[in-house]
Point group: C3
């Protein structure tokens, strides 16, 4: 890290400190939106080759997860099963917005993810893709990103 | 980081390495306890302006989550729905303490959280608050905290 | 960090950047496999005393969790309850491999974990052990590990 700081100068230093944001528009009430390409782009923009990337969804009714991206029915099965376990209509007390279920799904899946970064790329298994898990769309969503050097 | 290390000297260096602890007393068997203020305080104490804060609940029957803090019924709906999905009384084999459900809820919600830190503050959406999710209280609970510079 | 970099030279620097891997063979379709010893070993190999260790399961049908390790029935209750909530046979559309449930359990529990590291050891509560949560075994599994200095 010392070498990087000295050799590459203030440009990289500033990129490293900069908080980035991934913005997406979801299209369904509940869906998994693949954001892997945007995560790769954010790592590249940071200039960091070895470290970790921290992702944080800035909302209380969507989450982040990693799962299979090859067969879209995997994402579909995740959405349908969460809907079965925590249905939209239920015995809830947060009733004004009709999205109590979305808040609960967000806590079950979690709003943050930390991926390892190696040689400028996220460390992912063959089938792994990064998804925003939308539970109360369609909406504009924002994921804050910070890449930290190892 | 180089500038910080040299310019601010050993005082900041020590604060940065120091592991901190947030201590709380829960009051119910199951509840979400807002610890956002204590997390802000821990970031301030670290002296770190840009980085991430790692939180870890040192227990096997409570977890950490982030969700809406404005309407307390959101937290209530989360607790009641988890109770419906994983009731206290069930066909469990870890029976001596009567808290098998608390262990399961802890794995579903997760004992750790990493928040981004920007300009000395946690990066949170408008409605996001940090909660300890108590599943086997009332108890004394401890969250270990480490702030890492970007 | 400055002192470490200068004092210990390039050897530690290289160890720190090196991505490590924990390899395990699971024995059941669904089980929790204790990997705490391997995590301790990876921290030691990094040479890092104060920081965090990031763990990432490189698969879409197993996850990582921390829970009680003293009574093995806790892990058993977690497995059996997840099986009740998300049974292997169900109304799924990802049907070719018969493991739609394994993907869903992976998203519920999560493929990544970040543990705090203090004085060369993971910061864990008295009863906490680190587990790979296998949902589609028996299989060879791999966890990528990166230790980041504070």
């Amino acid at each position: 890290m010392l070498g990087l700081g000295i050799g590459m100068g203030i440009g990289i230093g500033k990129a490293r400190l900069m908080l980035q944001h991934i913005r997406i528009d979801s299209r369904e009430r509940e869906e998994l939106v693949d954001v892997t390409a945007q995560v790769r782009q954010a790592i590249r923009a940071s200039g960091i080759r070895d470290g970790v990337v921290h992702l944080w969804a800035l909302h209380t009714t969507c989450a982040l997860t990693v799962n299979e991206g090859a067969d879209p029915e995997v994402a579909g099965d995740i959405v349908r099963t969460l809907r079965r376990l925590v249905p939209q209509k239920g015995d809830y007390r947060h009733t004004e917005e009709g999205n109590a279920d979305s808040h609960i799904k967000t806590t079950l899946v979690g709003p943050g993810l930390t991926l390892l970064v190696d040689e400028g790329e996220p460390v992912l298994g063959t089938w792994q893709k990064v998804f925003l898990a939308e539970w109360d769309g369609p909406r504009k969503r924002e994921i804050a990103v910070r890449v930290v050097v190892a």
